[in-house]
Amino acid sequence: MLQENNLENIITTKDLSVFYGSTQAISKINLNIPRNRITAIIGPSGCGKSTLIRCFNRMNDLVPSARVEGEVIYSKQNIYSPNVDPVHIRRQIGMVFQKPNPFPKSVYENIAFGAKINNYQGNMDELVEKSLRQAALWDEVKDELDKSGLALSGGQQQRLCIARALATEPDVILMDEPASALDPIATLKIEELMQDLKEQYTIIIVTHNMQQASRASDYTAFISIDRTRVDDRVGVLVEYDQTSKIFVNPSEKETEDYISGRFG
Protein backbone atom coordinates (compact mmCIF):
# COMPACT_ATOMS: atom_id res chain seq x y z
CA MET A 1 0.00 0.00 0.00
CA LEU A 2 2.68 2.50 1.01
CA GLN A 3 4.39 3.44 -2.20
CA GLU A 4 7.36 5.46 -1.07
CA ASN A 5 10.63 3.59 -0.83
CA ASN A 6 12.85 3.42 2.23
CA LEU A 7 10.01 4.47 4.43
CA GLU A 8 10.46 3.58 8.07
CA ASN A 9 7.44 3.07 10.27
CA ILE A 10 7.64 4.80 13.63
CA ILE A 11 4.36 3.56 15.06
CA THR A 12 2.52 0.40 14.15
CA THR A 13 -0.80 -0.65 15.56
CA LYS A 14 -1.85 -4.27 15.62
CA ASP A 15 -5.53 -5.13 16.02
CA LEU A 16 -6.01 -2.10 18.22
CA SER A 17 -9.41 -2.00 19.94
CA VAL A 18 -10.60 0.38 22.66
CA PHE A 19 -13.54 -0.09 24.99
CA TYR A 20 -15.15 2.39 27.35
CA GLY A 21 -16.74 0.16 29.94
CA SER A 22 -18.69 -2.34 27.89
CA THR A 23 -19.01 -0.07 24.85
CA GLN A 24 -16.50 -0.60 22.09
CA ALA A 25 -15.18 2.60 20.50
CA ILE A 26 -12.76 1.31 17.85
CA SER A 27 -12.18 -2.18 16.56
CA LYS A 28 -9.07 -3.97 15.29
CA ILE A 29 -7.26 -1.07 13.72
CA ASN A 30 -4.01 -1.83 11.90
CA LEU A 31 -1.95 1.17 10.88
CA ASN A 32 1.67 1.88 9.97
CA ILE A 33 2.64 5.46 10.69
CA PRO A 34 5.69 6.47 8.61
CA ARG A 35 8.51 8.46 10.20
CA ASN A 36 8.91 12.13 9.23
CA ARG A 37 5.58 12.25 7.47
CA ILE A 38 2.27 13.83 8.30
CA THR A 39 -0.46 11.27 8.70
CA ALA A 40 -4.03 12.52 8.84
CA ILE A 41 -6.86 10.62 10.47
CA ILE A 42 -10.22 11.60 9.03
CA GLY A 43 -13.73 10.34 9.51
CA PRO A 44 -17.23 11.33 10.60
CA SER A 45 -17.96 12.61 14.10
CA GLY A 46 -17.96 9.97 16.81
CA CYS A 47 -16.09 7.36 14.80
CA GLY A 48 -13.24 7.16 17.30
CA LYS A 49 -10.58 9.35 15.69
CA SER A 50 -9.68 11.00 18.98
CA THR A 51 -9.82 7.68 20.80
CA LEU A 52 -7.35 6.28 18.29
CA ILE A 53 -4.87 9.15 18.53
CA ARG A 54 -5.07 9.07 22.33
CA CYS A 55 -3.87 5.47 22.20
CA PHE A 56 -0.53 6.56 20.79
CA ASN A 57 0.55 8.33 23.98
CA ARG A 58 -1.60 6.36 26.41
CA MET A 59 -3.80 9.32 27.25
CA ASN A 60 -6.70 6.85 27.30
CA ASP A 61 -5.21 5.49 30.51
CA LEU A 62 -6.57 8.59 32.20
CA VAL A 63 -10.16 7.58 31.45
CA PRO A 64 -10.95 5.15 34.28
CA SER A 65 -13.33 2.99 32.22
CA ALA A 66 -11.09 2.77 29.11
CA ARG A 67 -9.57 -0.57 28.15
CA VAL A 68 -7.19 -1.14 25.26
CA GLU A 69 -6.68 -4.40 23.39
CA GLY A 70 -4.09 -5.09 20.72
CA GLU A 71 -0.70 -3.48 20.38
CA VAL A 72 0.85 -0.14 19.61
CA ILE A 73 4.45 -0.69 18.60
CA TYR A 74 6.74 2.29 19.04
CA SER A 75 10.52 1.93 18.82
CA LYS A 76 10.23 -1.86 18.68
CA GLN A 77 8.14 -2.07 21.82
CA ASN A 78 4.46 -2.43 22.59
CA ILE A 79 3.74 0.69 24.60
CA TYR A 80 0.89 -1.13 26.33
CA SER A 81 3.10 -3.86 27.69
CA PRO A 82 3.23 -3.80 31.48
CA ASN A 83 6.86 -2.78 31.75
CA VAL A 84 6.38 0.45 29.80
CA ASP A 85 5.89 3.61 31.81
CA PRO A 86 3.26 5.87 30.19
CA VAL A 87 4.98 8.92 31.70
CA HIS A 88 8.07 8.06 29.66
CA ILE A 89 6.02 7.49 26.49
CA ARG A 90 4.26 10.83 26.83
CA ARG A 91 7.51 12.77 26.85
CA GLN A 92 8.53 11.10 23.59
CA ILE A 93 5.13 11.37 21.96
CA GLY A 94 3.85 14.88 22.49
CA MET A 95 0.30 16.03 22.06
CA VAL A 96 -1.52 19.17 20.97
CA PHE A 97 -5.19 19.39 21.87
CA GLN A 98 -8.30 20.62 20.12
CA LYS A 99 -8.72 23.73 22.22
CA PRO A 100 -5.53 25.67 22.96
CA ASN A 101 -4.76 24.90 26.61
CA PRO A 102 -1.79 26.99 27.72
CA PHE A 103 -1.06 26.95 31.43
CA PRO A 104 -2.13 30.16 33.18
CA LYS A 105 1.53 31.09 33.48
CA SER A 106 4.00 33.13 31.46
CA VAL A 107 4.96 32.15 27.92
CA TYR A 108 8.40 31.22 29.25
CA GLU A 109 7.00 29.04 32.05
CA ASN A 110 4.67 27.31 29.62
CA ILE A 111 7.61 26.16 27.53
CA ALA A 112 9.89 25.41 30.47
CA PHE A 113 7.29 23.29 32.28
CA GLY A 114 7.81 20.07 30.34
CA ALA A 115 11.57 20.41 30.59
CA LYS A 116 11.44 21.06 34.33
CA ILE A 117 9.26 18.10 35.21
CA ASN A 118 11.47 15.87 33.08
CA ASN A 119 14.54 17.11 34.92
CA TYR A 120 16.15 18.89 31.96
CA GLN A 121 19.74 19.80 32.76
CA GLY A 122 20.58 22.05 29.82
CA ASN A 123 20.25 25.78 29.29
CA MET A 124 16.59 26.68 29.78
CA ASP A 125 16.70 30.04 27.96
CA GLU A 126 18.10 28.33 24.87
CA LEU A 127 15.50 25.60 25.00
CA VAL A 128 12.67 28.13 25.29
CA GLU A 129 14.00 30.16 22.35
CA LYS A 130 14.59 27.10 20.20
CA SER A 131 11.12 25.71 20.86
CA LEU A 132 9.42 29.04 20.19
CA ARG A 133 11.41 29.46 16.97
CA GLN A 134 10.44 25.97 15.84
CA ALA A 135 6.81 26.84 16.47
CA ALA A 136 7.19 30.10 14.50
CA LEU A 137 6.18 32.09 17.55
CA TRP A 138 9.51 33.54 18.65
CA ASP A 139 9.29 36.79 16.70
CA GLU A 140 5.83 37.51 18.06
CA VAL A 141 6.58 36.91 21.73
CA LYS A 142 10.33 37.38 22.19
CA ASP A 143 9.84 40.73 23.95
CA GLU A 144 7.10 39.56 26.27
CA LEU A 145 8.14 36.13 27.47
CA ASP A 146 6.83 36.95 30.94
CA LYS A 147 3.37 37.75 29.62
CA SER A 148 0.64 35.25 30.50
CA GLY A 149 0.10 32.56 27.89
CA LEU A 150 -3.62 33.24 28.21
CA ALA A 151 -3.10 36.81 26.93
CA LEU A 152 -2.07 35.56 23.46
CA SER A 153 -4.50 35.20 20.57
CA GLY A 154 -6.07 31.82 19.89
CA GLY A 155 -3.67 30.99 17.06
CA GLN A 156 -0.68 32.11 19.10
CA GLN A 157 -1.90 30.04 22.04
CA GLN A 158 -2.07 26.96 19.86
CA ARG A 159 1.46 27.56 18.52
CA LEU A 160 2.54 28.06 22.14
CA CYS A 161 1.09 24.62 22.88
CA ILE A 162 3.02 23.19 19.93
CA ALA A 163 6.21 24.87 21.17
CA ARG A 164 5.51 23.47 24.63
CA ALA A 165 5.21 19.97 23.17
CA LEU A 166 8.44 20.45 21.19
CA ALA A 167 10.35 21.48 24.31
CA THR A 168 10.41 17.94 25.67
CA GLU A 169 12.24 16.82 22.49
CA PRO A 170 9.62 14.31 21.33
CA ASP A 171 9.80 12.02 18.28
CA VAL A 172 6.15 12.19 17.42
CA ILE A 173 3.60 14.97 17.79
CA LEU A 174 -0.04 14.04 18.00
CA MET A 175 -2.49 16.76 17.02
CA ASP A 176 -6.14 16.30 17.88
CA GLU A 177 -8.02 18.73 15.60
CA PRO A 178 -5.48 21.45 16.39
CA ALA A 179 -7.09 24.07 14.18
CA SER A 180 -10.78 23.47 14.77
CA ALA A 181 -11.01 26.39 17.22
CA LEU A 182 -8.99 28.77 15.04
CA ASP A 183 -9.75 31.19 12.24
CA PRO A 184 -8.57 30.41 8.66
CA ILE A 185 -5.40 32.51 8.85
CA ALA A 186 -4.31 30.96 12.13
CA THR A 187 -5.18 27.55 10.66
CA LEU A 188 -2.96 28.20 7.65
CA LYS A 189 -0.09 29.12 9.94
CA ILE A 190 -0.45 25.86 11.84
CA GLU A 191 -0.47 23.93 8.56
CA GLU A 192 2.66 25.69 7.32
CA LEU A 193 4.26 24.97 10.65
CA MET A 194 3.47 21.28 10.31
CA GLN A 195 5.33 21.20 6.97
CA ASP A 196 8.41 22.67 8.65
CA LEU A 197 8.17 20.33 11.62
CA LYS A 198 7.99 17.11 9.63
CA GLU A 199 11.69 17.47 8.78
CA GLN A 200 12.44 16.50 12.35
CA TYR A 201 9.25 15.03 13.73
CA THR A 202 6.51 12.64 12.81
CA ILE A 203 3.08 14.23 12.93
CA ILE A 204 -0.24 12.50 13.34
CA ILE A 205 -3.21 14.79 13.00
CA VAL A 206 -6.88 14.15 13.57
CA THR A 207 -9.09 16.43 11.53
CA HIS A 208 -12.60 16.51 10.24
CA ASN A 209 -11.66 19.21 7.80
CA MET A 210 -11.02 17.27 4.60
CA GLN A 211 -9.42 20.21 2.84
CA GLN A 212 -6.95 20.35 5.66
CA ALA A 213 -6.17 16.65 5.36
CA SER A 214 -5.71 16.91 1.59
CA ARG A 215 -3.56 20.08 1.83
CA ALA A 216 -1.39 19.22 4.78
CA SER A 217 -0.89 15.48 5.02
CA ASP A 218 1.17 12.84 3.23
CA TYR A 219 -0.88 9.87 4.33
CA THR A 220 -4.53 9.67 5.24
CA ALA A 221 -6.38 7.07 7.25
CA PHE A 222 -10.14 7.06 6.85
CA ILE A 223 -11.99 5.75 9.87
CA SER A 224 -15.71 5.18 9.78
CA ILE A 225 -18.52 3.49 11.64
CA ASP A 226 -18.70 -0.23 11.09
CA ARG A 227 -21.86 -0.61 8.95
CA THR A 228 -22.15 -4.30 9.66
CA ARG A 229 -22.84 -3.69 13.33
CA VAL A 230 -26.32 -2.35 13.78
CA ASP A 231 -26.57 -1.88 17.54
CA ASP A 232 -23.48 0.12 18.35
CA ARG A 233 -21.14 2.68 16.82
CA VAL A 234 -17.72 1.15 16.46
CA GLY A 235 -14.96 2.83 14.47
CA VAL A 236 -13.06 0.74 11.94
CA LEU A 237 -10.30 1.58 9.49
CA VAL A 238 -11.85 1.76 6.04
CA GLU A 239 -8.90 2.84 3.96
CA TYR A 240 -5.35 3.98 4.52
CA ASP A 241 -3.12 5.25 1.76
CA GLN A 242 -1.16 8.18 0.43
CA THR A 243 -3.25 11.30 0.72
CA SER A 244 -3.13 11.94 -3.03
CA LYS A 245 -4.54 8.48 -3.67
CA ILE A 246 -7.26 8.74 -1.02
CA PHE A 247 -8.54 12.05 -2.31
CA VAL A 248 -8.17 11.42 -6.03
CA ASN A 249 -8.76 7.77 -6.48
CA PRO A 250 -9.99 6.01 -3.35
CA SER A 251 -10.37 2.23 -3.52
CA GLU A 252 -13.39 2.07 -1.23
CA LYS A 253 -16.83 3.34 -2.16
CA GLU A 254 -17.38 4.58 1.42
CA THR A 255 -14.24 6.71 1.30
CA GLU A 256 -15.38 8.29 -1.92
CA ASP A 257 -18.81 9.02 -0.45
CA TYR A 258 -17.24 10.64 2.58
CA ILE A 259 -14.67 12.82 0.86
CA SER A 260 -17.17 13.95 -1.74
CA GLY A 261 -19.42 15.11 1.07
CA ARG A 262 -22.21 12.58 0.69
CA PHE A 263 -22.17 11.77 4.43
CA GLY A 264 -20.25 12.69 7.53
Binding site: M59, G94, N101, P104, K116
Partner: protein, 333 residues
Amino acid sequence: MNQPKKEHFKENLKKRHSSAKVFYFLLLICLLVGFFTLSVLIIDLAVEGGPWIRSQLFTNYHSRKPEEAGMKSAIVGSLINLGLTGLFSFPLGVGAAIYLEEYAPKNKLTSFINININNLAGVPSIVYGMLGLVVFGRMFGLFAPDSWLVQFFNLPVGKGALGGLQFNLLGIPWLEIRLPFGRTILAGGLTMTMLILPVVIIASREAIRTVPNSIRDAAYALGATKWQMISTQVLPIAFPGILTGIILSLSRAIGETAPLIIMGAFTYVPFLPKSLWDQFTVMPIQIYNWITLPQSEYRIHLAAAGIIVLLAILLSLNAVAVFLRKKFEIHWS
Protein backbone atom coordinates in the same frame (compact mmCIF):
# COMPACT_ATOMS: atom_id res chain seq x y z
CA MET B 1 -57.84 20.66 17.14
CA ASN B 2 -58.07 24.42 17.40
CA GLN B 3 -55.34 26.24 15.59
CA PRO B 4 -53.69 29.00 17.65
CA LYS B 5 -54.92 32.39 16.45
CA LYS B 6 -53.83 35.93 17.04
CA GLU B 7 -57.00 36.64 19.04
CA HIS B 8 -55.97 33.98 21.55
CA PHE B 9 -53.23 36.25 22.85
CA LYS B 10 -54.57 38.57 25.56
CA GLU B 11 -51.51 40.67 26.16
CA ASN B 12 -52.83 42.55 29.21
CA LEU B 13 -49.66 44.64 29.32
CA LYS B 14 -50.83 46.94 32.07
CA LYS B 15 -51.28 44.17 34.61
CA ARG B 16 -48.01 42.48 33.68
CA HIS B 17 -46.03 45.70 34.01
CA SER B 18 -47.63 46.58 37.34
CA SER B 19 -46.86 43.17 38.84
CA ALA B 20 -43.26 43.60 37.64
CA LYS B 21 -43.15 46.88 39.57
CA VAL B 22 -44.70 45.36 42.69
CA PHE B 23 -42.12 42.61 42.78
CA TYR B 24 -39.32 45.07 42.20
CA PHE B 25 -40.35 46.95 45.36
CA LEU B 26 -40.95 43.77 47.37
CA LEU B 27 -37.46 42.55 46.57
CA LEU B 28 -35.97 45.93 47.40
CA ILE B 29 -37.72 45.87 50.78
CA CYS B 30 -36.29 42.44 51.52
CA LEU B 31 -32.83 43.85 50.96
CA LEU B 32 -33.52 46.98 53.00
CA VAL B 33 -34.77 45.03 56.04
CA GLY B 34 -31.43 43.25 56.31
CA PHE B 35 -29.48 46.38 55.60
CA PHE B 36 -31.49 48.45 58.11
CA THR B 37 -31.10 45.90 60.91
CA LEU B 38 -27.37 45.69 60.35
CA SER B 39 -27.05 49.48 60.33
CA VAL B 40 -28.99 49.81 63.60
CA LEU B 41 -26.78 47.17 65.16
CA ILE B 42 -23.56 48.79 64.03
CA ILE B 43 -24.65 52.32 64.99
CA ASP B 44 -25.79 51.10 68.41
CA LEU B 45 -22.48 49.29 68.93
CA ALA B 46 -20.52 52.36 67.87
CA VAL B 47 -22.44 54.66 70.22
CA GLU B 48 -22.29 52.32 73.22
CA GLY B 49 -18.86 50.84 72.71
CA GLY B 50 -16.95 53.39 70.65
CA PRO B 51 -15.71 55.51 73.58
CA TRP B 52 -14.67 52.36 75.43
CA ILE B 53 -12.21 51.31 72.75
CA ARG B 54 -9.18 52.59 74.59
CA SER B 55 -5.71 51.27 75.18
CA GLN B 56 -6.86 49.54 78.41
CA LEU B 57 -9.07 47.25 76.34
CA PHE B 58 -6.00 45.81 74.64
CA THR B 59 -3.44 45.99 77.45
CA ASN B 60 -5.41 44.94 80.54
CA TYR B 61 -7.04 41.75 81.71
CA HIS B 62 -10.55 41.61 83.07
CA SER B 63 -10.79 43.70 86.22
CA ARG B 64 -13.28 44.37 89.00
CA LYS B 65 -13.15 48.04 88.01
CA PRO B 66 -14.87 48.50 84.62
CA GLU B 67 -12.71 51.47 83.67
CA GLU B 68 -9.59 49.30 83.99
CA ALA B 69 -11.01 46.14 82.45
CA GLY B 70 -9.60 44.89 79.17
CA MET B 71 -9.68 41.76 77.05
CA LYS B 72 -5.97 41.24 76.37
CA SER B 73 -6.00 37.53 77.16
CA ALA B 74 -9.14 37.04 75.06
CA ILE B 75 -7.72 38.82 72.01
CA VAL B 76 -4.43 36.91 72.23
CA GLY B 77 -6.32 33.70 72.95
CA SER B 78 -8.54 34.18 69.90
CA LEU B 79 -5.57 34.93 67.65
CA ILE B 80 -3.56 31.92 68.85
CA ASN B 81 -6.63 29.73 68.54
CA LEU B 82 -7.16 31.03 65.03
CA GLY B 83 -3.51 30.43 64.11
CA LEU B 84 -3.58 26.88 65.43
CA THR B 85 -6.87 26.18 63.67
CA GLY B 86 -5.45 27.46 60.39
CA LEU B 87 -2.26 25.48 60.87
CA PHE B 88 -4.13 22.21 61.46
CA SER B 89 -7.02 22.63 59.05
CA PHE B 90 -4.96 23.73 56.04
CA PRO B 91 -2.96 20.52 55.48
CA LEU B 92 -5.77 18.22 56.64
CA GLY B 93 -8.50 19.94 54.64
CA VAL B 94 -6.49 20.44 51.46
CA GLY B 95 -5.08 16.93 51.65
CA ALA B 96 -8.52 15.40 51.99
CA ALA B 97 -9.84 17.59 49.17
CA ILE B 98 -6.99 16.57 46.84
CA TYR B 99 -7.57 12.94 47.62
CA LEU B 100 -11.31 13.16 47.02
CA GLU B 101 -11.02 15.17 43.81
CA GLU B 102 -7.97 13.63 42.16
CA TYR B 103 -7.51 10.15 43.57
CA ALA B 104 -10.69 8.73 45.06
CA PRO B 105 -12.32 6.06 42.89
CA LYS B 106 -15.96 6.69 42.12
CA ASN B 107 -17.64 4.08 44.28
CA LYS B 108 -20.18 3.77 47.05
CA LEU B 109 -17.66 4.43 49.81
CA THR B 110 -16.61 7.69 48.18
CA SER B 111 -20.15 8.91 47.75
CA PHE B 112 -20.92 7.90 51.35
CA ILE B 113 -17.96 10.01 52.49
CA ASN B 114 -19.09 12.88 50.26
CA ILE B 115 -22.58 12.89 51.76
CA ASN B 116 -21.18 12.81 55.26
CA ILE B 117 -18.77 15.67 54.70
CA ASN B 118 -21.72 17.77 53.60
CA ASN B 119 -23.69 16.63 56.64
CA LEU B 120 -20.81 17.41 58.98
CA ALA B 121 -20.68 20.95 57.66
CA GLY B 122 -24.20 21.41 58.99
CA VAL B 123 -23.73 19.83 62.41
CA PRO B 124 -24.36 22.35 65.25
CA SER B 125 -21.10 23.68 66.62
CA ILE B 126 -21.91 22.62 70.18
CA VAL B 127 -21.67 19.01 69.06
CA TYR B 128 -18.09 19.67 68.02
CA GLY B 129 -17.52 21.09 71.50
CA MET B 130 -18.56 17.77 73.01
CA LEU B 131 -16.40 15.92 70.49
CA GLY B 132 -13.45 18.14 71.39
CA LEU B 133 -14.02 17.60 75.09
CA VAL B 134 -14.17 13.84 74.83
CA VAL B 135 -11.48 13.30 72.19
CA PHE B 136 -8.90 16.00 72.93
CA GLY B 137 -9.83 17.30 76.38
CA ARG B 138 -10.25 13.94 78.11
CA MET B 139 -9.14 11.42 75.47
CA PHE B 140 -11.97 9.10 76.52
CA GLY B 141 -10.54 8.98 80.04
CA LEU B 142 -7.80 6.67 78.79
CA PHE B 143 -5.25 8.32 81.04
CA ALA B 144 -7.36 8.32 84.20
CA PRO B 145 -5.94 6.17 87.04
CA ASP B 146 -8.68 3.56 86.69
CA SER B 147 -8.59 3.13 82.90
CA TRP B 148 -7.69 -0.23 81.40
CA LEU B 149 -4.82 1.33 79.44
CA VAL B 150 -3.15 2.75 82.53
CA GLN B 151 -3.66 -0.43 84.52
CA PHE B 152 -2.54 -2.73 81.73
CA PHE B 153 0.69 -0.89 80.99
CA ASN B 154 1.07 0.44 84.52
CA LEU B 155 1.50 4.00 83.21
CA PRO B 156 2.79 6.59 85.68
CA VAL B 157 -0.26 8.86 85.54
CA GLY B 158 -1.06 11.78 87.85
CA LYS B 159 -2.66 11.23 91.21
CA GLY B 160 -5.91 13.19 90.67
CA ALA B 161 -9.18 11.75 89.45
CA LEU B 162 -8.27 12.78 85.89
CA GLY B 163 -4.84 11.25 86.03
CA GLY B 164 -2.87 12.42 83.02
CA LEU B 165 0.50 11.62 81.52
CA GLN B 166 3.22 14.21 81.08
CA PHE B 167 6.52 13.69 79.29
CA ASN B 168 8.97 15.33 76.93
CA LEU B 169 9.00 13.95 73.45
CA LEU B 170 12.46 12.52 72.63
CA GLY B 171 13.63 14.10 75.87
CA ILE B 172 13.61 17.60 74.33
CA PRO B 173 12.63 20.10 77.05
CA TRP B 174 10.32 22.27 74.94
CA LEU B 175 8.62 19.32 73.28
CA GLU B 176 6.37 18.75 76.24
CA ILE B 177 3.43 16.44 75.71
CA ARG B 178 0.47 16.10 78.02
CA LEU B 179 -2.09 13.37 77.67
CA PRO B 180 -4.98 14.03 77.66
CA PHE B 181 -4.69 17.54 76.22
CA GLY B 182 -7.02 18.92 78.89
CA ARG B 183 -8.61 22.34 78.86
CA THR B 184 -5.71 23.82 76.89
CA ILE B 185 -5.38 26.11 73.91
CA LEU B 186 -4.10 23.15 71.89
CA ALA B 187 -7.33 21.24 72.52
CA GLY B 188 -9.25 24.42 71.64
CA GLY B 189 -7.43 24.75 68.31
CA LEU B 190 -8.02 21.09 67.50
CA THR B 191 -11.71 21.38 68.38
CA MET B 192 -12.07 24.37 66.07
CA THR B 193 -10.20 22.45 63.39
CA MET B 194 -12.78 19.66 63.58
CA LEU B 195 -15.51 22.30 63.36
CA ILE B 196 -14.27 24.00 60.20
CA LEU B 197 -12.67 21.00 58.51
CA PRO B 198 -15.78 19.98 56.53
CA VAL B 199 -16.18 23.51 55.20
CA VAL B 200 -12.47 23.73 54.35
CA ILE B 201 -12.68 20.42 52.50
CA ILE B 202 -15.77 21.50 50.56
CA ALA B 203 -14.27 24.89 49.64
CA SER B 204 -10.95 23.32 48.61
CA ARG B 205 -12.75 20.76 46.47
CA GLU B 206 -14.69 23.53 44.74
CA ALA B 207 -11.43 25.34 44.05
CA ILE B 208 -9.75 22.19 42.72
CA ARG B 209 -12.76 21.47 40.55
CA THR B 210 -12.53 24.86 38.84
CA VAL B 211 -9.18 23.84 37.33
CA PRO B 212 -10.09 22.81 33.76
CA ASN B 213 -9.37 19.21 32.78
CA SER B 214 -7.57 20.53 29.71
CA ILE B 215 -4.82 21.73 32.07
CA ARG B 216 -4.53 18.26 33.59
CA ASP B 217 -4.35 16.75 30.08
CA ALA B 218 -1.70 19.26 29.05
CA ALA B 219 0.48 18.40 32.03
CA TYR B 220 0.08 14.65 31.50
CA ALA B 221 0.82 14.96 27.78
CA LEU B 222 4.17 16.58 28.60
CA GLY B 223 5.17 13.60 30.70
CA ALA B 224 4.09 14.74 34.15
CA THR B 225 3.33 12.17 36.81
CA LYS B 226 0.06 12.51 38.66
CA TRP B 227 1.67 14.22 41.62
CA GLN B 228 3.65 16.58 39.35
CA MET B 229 0.40 17.48 37.62
CA ILE B 230 -1.31 18.16 40.94
CA SER B 231 1.54 20.00 42.64
CA THR B 232 2.69 22.16 39.72
CA GLN B 233 -0.60 22.94 38.01
CA VAL B 234 -3.74 22.10 39.96
CA LEU B 235 -2.68 23.35 43.39
CA PRO B 236 -1.17 26.68 42.28
CA ILE B 237 -4.26 27.41 40.19
CA ALA B 238 -6.64 26.35 42.95
CA PHE B 239 -4.64 27.99 45.74
CA PRO B 240 -6.40 31.39 45.85
CA GLY B 241 -9.76 29.63 46.06
CA ILE B 242 -8.50 27.27 48.75
CA LEU B 243 -7.09 30.18 50.75
CA THR B 244 -10.33 32.11 50.43
CA GLY B 245 -12.27 29.13 51.73
CA ILE B 246 -9.94 28.68 54.69
CA ILE B 247 -10.02 32.35 55.63
CA LEU B 248 -13.81 32.46 55.48
CA SER B 249 -13.97 29.32 57.63
CA LEU B 250 -11.58 30.90 60.12
CA SER B 251 -13.75 33.98 60.30
CA ARG B 252 -16.60 31.67 61.26
CA ALA B 253 -14.41 29.99 63.86
CA ILE B 254 -13.39 33.25 65.51
CA GLY B 255 -17.02 33.99 66.38
CA GLU B 256 -17.74 30.54 67.84
CA THR B 257 -18.40 30.41 71.57
CA ALA B 258 -20.33 27.27 72.38
CA PRO B 259 -17.81 24.59 71.38
CA LEU B 260 -15.02 26.23 73.33
CA ILE B 261 -17.16 26.65 76.44
CA ILE B 262 -18.09 22.97 76.29
CA MET B 263 -14.51 22.00 75.56
CA GLY B 264 -13.43 23.89 78.64
CA ALA B 265 -12.13 27.34 77.75
CA PHE B 266 -12.06 29.59 80.80
CA THR B 267 -14.01 32.80 81.33
CA TYR B 268 -11.44 34.54 83.49
CA VAL B 269 -7.83 34.19 82.36
CA PRO B 270 -5.56 36.86 83.87
CA PHE B 271 -2.44 35.80 81.95
CA LEU B 272 -1.27 35.16 78.40
CA PRO B 273 -0.71 31.58 77.27
CA LYS B 274 2.99 30.76 77.23
CA SER B 275 2.69 27.34 75.65
CA LEU B 276 0.15 25.14 73.95
CA TRP B 277 -0.61 23.63 77.35
CA ASP B 278 -1.92 26.80 78.93
CA GLN B 279 -5.49 27.70 79.69
CA PHE B 280 -7.09 30.29 77.49
CA THR B 281 -10.16 32.30 76.72
CA VAL B 282 -11.43 33.86 73.49
CA MET B 283 -13.19 37.08 72.62
CA PRO B 284 -16.77 35.79 72.30
CA ILE B 285 -16.47 34.13 75.73
CA GLN B 286 -15.11 37.34 77.26
CA ILE B 287 -17.96 39.32 75.69
CA TYR B 288 -20.49 36.80 76.93
CA ASN B 289 -18.96 36.98 80.38
CA TRP B 290 -19.29 40.79 80.42
CA ILE B 291 -22.88 40.65 79.27
CA THR B 292 -23.79 38.45 82.25
CA LEU B 293 -22.38 40.96 84.77
CA PRO B 294 -24.88 43.34 86.43
CA GLN B 295 -22.98 46.65 86.01
CA SER B 296 -23.99 48.55 82.88
CA GLU B 297 -20.35 49.43 82.12
CA TYR B 298 -19.60 45.73 81.52
CA ARG B 299 -22.98 44.70 80.29
CA ILE B 300 -23.39 47.47 77.70
CA HIS B 301 -20.24 49.42 77.06
CA LEU B 302 -17.39 46.93 77.40
CA ALA B 303 -19.37 44.21 75.69
CA ALA B 304 -20.09 46.55 72.77
CA ALA B 305 -16.44 47.57 72.58
CA GLY B 306 -15.46 43.89 72.57
CA ILE B 307 -17.91 43.17 69.78
CA ILE B 308 -16.46 46.03 67.73
CA VAL B 309 -12.95 44.54 68.07
CA LEU B 310 -14.27 41.11 67.14
CA LEU B 311 -16.11 42.49 64.13
CA ALA B 312 -13.04 44.44 63.05
CA ILE B 313 -10.90 41.28 63.06
CA LEU B 314 -13.62 39.31 61.29
CA LEU B 315 -14.14 41.93 58.60
CA SER B 316 -10.41 42.28 57.97
CA LEU B 317 -10.17 38.52 57.51
CA ASN B 318 -13.00 38.66 54.98
CA ALA B 319 -11.34 41.62 53.26
CA VAL B 320 -8.13 39.62 52.90
CA ALA B 321 -10.16 36.79 51.37
CA VAL B 322 -11.82 39.11 48.85
CA PHE B 323 -8.48 40.72 48.01
CA LEU B 324 -6.81 37.35 47.39
CA ARG B 325 -9.64 36.18 45.21
CA LYS B 326 -9.55 39.33 43.10
CA LYS B 327 -5.78 39.45 42.83
CA PHE B 328 -5.22 35.88 41.75
CA GLU B 329 -8.36 35.37 39.70
CA ILE B 330 -7.53 33.70 36.39
CA HIS B 331 -9.56 34.78 33.39
CA TRP B 332 -9.77 31.67 31.21
CA SER B 333 -10.65 33.14 27.86
